[in-house]
């Protein structure tokens, strides 16, 4: 189920919130409310993936049982063996569904064999909930969390619908205490509503609108040619520099507003139900270096790879060569996490190359450079990286690069790209301003300067604006214009 759908907003959400707050809490026990959240989460997941619910519950079951056994054999060699077994089983599900066809296709290409592909549909959110389960078993083994003996509480953690299919990757340690003792308050609820509405607006109004531009621009740039019956080679789209630039700039904003919008909605929904999830974005496109960018973008994923892959490999407390190798490994794995394709591997290595360069010399240069130049460097770099990330294959990536250097069939610009630039100019400006902290700082500054009257105006205006936002988002959703969330496919 999509958050930006009529079914979720006007059927599922009101029903679940209403039922949730009707469930009593005898002696403060959250058993009933957790049970309701678990059932709601199963319905939420099954709404889009009815059969794959079995996979998710099986993985949750393995994680829970592994936890019990690791605790049972704590401080004995068996605990380590159990942890390894648990990690292997959890990752196997991910490997089978996500990577089998990638390996088979490469094997076929390498050995000239014709092994059949499985062509399995990817279970929604498998990359996210697998990592959540792994965080539990690994942290339990490391004695950082306590064992969860109640299967319902553990299943609630794994399946929790606000963050189930597209993150943030909530580690068990983050909400261990909240599963049994979270506070419910009107303050939290209202804060959750605010966050949810803002996220919904980011996703539906900005990301989806830019999604149309991305689609048109990418189609034109990568359209290829057609040999007409008279032998003439005709370009199937306008392959121009302007279109390639529009594609990359618009996609940079689209993916940010899409994914950070989803994270806002997840955090907001969490607060509505009394949870406090970790932040996942901190204005990443306003960063001044790639190192800074990755501290602000999908923070729950980058910190997961840091704590569970990079540091166990030795992190930076090793020699230069080993350290460089560690970075390359982590970013290759990060690339593969995003998708089973060489383009994702190349994207990860592209990131690694610049991160290594920034560690050794580029970082110092950027620190001394004017802020505008550093921001421009980061934005251009990130935008260029999407060529690898978003291209369906390396051929399409090549076509985008050709267009970007003005070597496409339409050269610098054509009438179609010009039309779309003019058409989307306002949205692009809104997105450019909206991806920085400027609007939030402006509102906070004005309110602070205006004192009590300013706070009073804000106290009235903000809810009204949220209401208007909710209505206009509803208009977009009802008119059938929503796109699937980009991060669902990971």
């Amino acid at each position: 189920m999509l958050f930006s759908s009529v079914t979720f907003l006007y059927w599922f959400l009101p029903a679940v919130v209403l039922l949730y707050y009707c469930v009593p809490r005898p002696r403060g026990s959250l058993l009933g409310r957790n049970l309701l959240l678990f059932v709601a989460s199963v319905v939420f997941y099954a709404w889009g993936e009815p059969l794959y619910i079995v996979i998710m519950l099986s993985q949750a079951c393995v994680g829970w049982l592994s936890g019990l056994l690791i605790e049972r054999f704590r401080a004995r060699p068996a605990a380590k063996a159990l942890l390894v077994a648990s990690v292997v089983v959890e990752l196997s599900a991910l490997l089978v569904f996500k990577y089998t066809d990638f390996f088979v296709a490469n094997l076929n290409a390498l050995l000239h064999t014709e092994l059949g592909l499985l062509a399995l549909a990817l279970p929604l959110g498998i990359s996210f909930y697998t990592f959540q389960i792994l965080s539990y078993t690994i942290d339990l083994y490391r004695n950082k969390v306590r064992v969860q003996r109640n299967p319902l509480y553990f299943a609630t953690y794994v399946t929790l619908f606000p963050q189930l299919v597209a993150g943030p990757i909530v580690r068990y340690a983050h909400i261990e205490a909240q599963l049994t003792g979270r506070r419910h308050s009107l303050v939290g609820f209202a804060s959750g509503v605010r966050r949810f509405c803002v996220g919904l607006g980011k996703k539906v109004l900005i990301a989806n609108t830019l999604g149309s531009l991305v689609s048109v621009a990418q189609d034109n740039v990568t359209a290829g040619t057609l040999v007409a019956p008279d032998g003439a080679v005709l370009p199937m789209g306008e392959q121009s520099l302007l279109f390639a630039a529009l594609f990359l700039v618009a996609f940079s904003f689209q993916i940010y507003f899409d994914f950070s919008g989803y994270s806002d909605m997840a955090l907001g929904l969490g607060r509505i139900f009394g949870f406090e999830f970790p932040e996942n974005f901190n204005y990443p496109l306003a960063a001044r270096s790639l190192t800074d960018f990755w501290r602000r973008w999908h923070m729950s994923m980058s910190s997961w790879f840091r704590d569970y892959v990079y540091i166990p490999l030795g992190g930076n407390r090793v020699g230069v060569l080993r350290h460089t190798t560690n970075i390359l490994i982590v970013w290759m794995v990060t690339g593969l996490w995003h998708g089973a394709g060489w383009n994702f591997v190349c994207w990860g290595l592209f990131m690694a190359a610049f991160l290594i360069a920034e560690k050794h010399f580029l970082g110092r240069v950027l620190a001394r450079a004017p802020a505008a130049l550093a921001h421009l460097y980061l934005f251009v770099l990130v935008a260029l990286s999407w060529i690898l990330f978003e291209s369906p294959d390396l051929g399409a990536a090549g076509a985008t690069v050709l267009a970007l250097v003005g070597a496409g069939s339409a050269g610098i610009a054509g009438p179609v790209s010009w039309y779309y630039l003019c058409s989307y100019a306002v949205v692009l400006v809104i997105a450019a301003v909206g991806c920085t902290s400027l609007p939030a700082r402006c509102i906070a500054g004005i309110t602070a300067r205006a004192g009590r009257p300013g706070r009073l105006v804000r106290a009235v205006a903000e809810p009204l604006m949220l209401g208007a936002l909710l209505v206009i988002v509803t208009a977009f959703v009802v008119d059938g214009s929503f796109n699937p969330f980009i991060y669902f496919r990971f």
Partner: protein, 393 residues
Amino acid sequence: MSARNHTTPAGRPDGIEHLRIGLTLAVFVLVVGGFALLGLLMPRQALIASERRAPAELPEISQDAVLSARFMHGFEGYAADGFPLREALRTARAAFVLDVFMLGDKDGLYEHDGSMGRFEPLDAAAVLRAADGIERMNAMLTENVAELRLFCAVVPDKSIYEPRGYPGFDPELAKRLLAARLPGLTHIDLSASLGAGDYYRTDLHWNQAALADGSIGAPGALEALSAALGCDERLDRSFTEHYAGEFAGVYPGQLALPVAPEALVYCTNPVIDAATASYLDPQAATFVEGPLYSLSGAAGRDPYDLFLCGAQPVVRLDNPLATTDRELLVFRDSFASSLAPLLLSGYKRVTLVDLRYIDYRLVPEHIELKPGTDVLFLYSSQTLNDPSVLHAG
């Protein structure tokens, strides 16, 4: 957006914060709860008039439908179609997209100075598939009858005449592709003979009254077409206009923007008045006589059905006042419905075949093709861009 910015020394929200929280919750409950409740209580419409379609029905609930997620996918359409104040919300979206975001179009739909339309770039592969279909039809005709005079023309989409430069269907490229794939046909270029004024403001179709009035467009699509077909000298251009009612085309509904309706006008002359129209009844495989202009069609769901009773597989127009034995066979989409009566004075019989409603292999059973007949393939850019609608093999 911290929830705990303004608190009393005891750590509780102060009065203003209380107001902010209370209003936030009230607005949320009002919007979400209100729409949810209205959705449950309000009766569902039997027809979505603006989009000329029935709303999606509640999908059947069965084990198979649930396990395959068919029920869930269908439910979203059901919920969206039955949403309270749906039309007002769709209008709000259109206004927001066009006036706040200032986009040039909403999903390809545009509104400019009261003229509405939808642009769609040419799909070269689709145009070539359409050409293949035409070629199959053509081969079947020429196999049985010799000396056919074959023509092909594309009706350009009106978006290309708008001053805003919408990236619509390129008729030049279409002509080039069709000419290369169909070298045995004479290709007629209508794009220079038409202008924005030749189309309805609110609909995709061209306006018969504008086509009949040679003063609009230079030199006029009717002239260009009749000259290419060689019937221009026989054409009776003394048309009389008749008002058939108000007309709001497909675009106000699709765009969800209110617009003043325009006049639906049809043209007659002595030839049209004396003509008979026969429509193929596919079930009985016989022709049934009917009106050339259907006033009941004009009052129906799609007023453009005024012309030749709307969707028809085969229509025969006979001209008892004809001074020639020449006949015209038109393979067409809906654009030809309003054009054919204007051409009738140039022929003894005009037969129109719409391959969207009849398989091309059945066509010979229902037409009487004579040597020397003019055969015109007249398709709009919409059909050429989606030839899958044609049952042409």
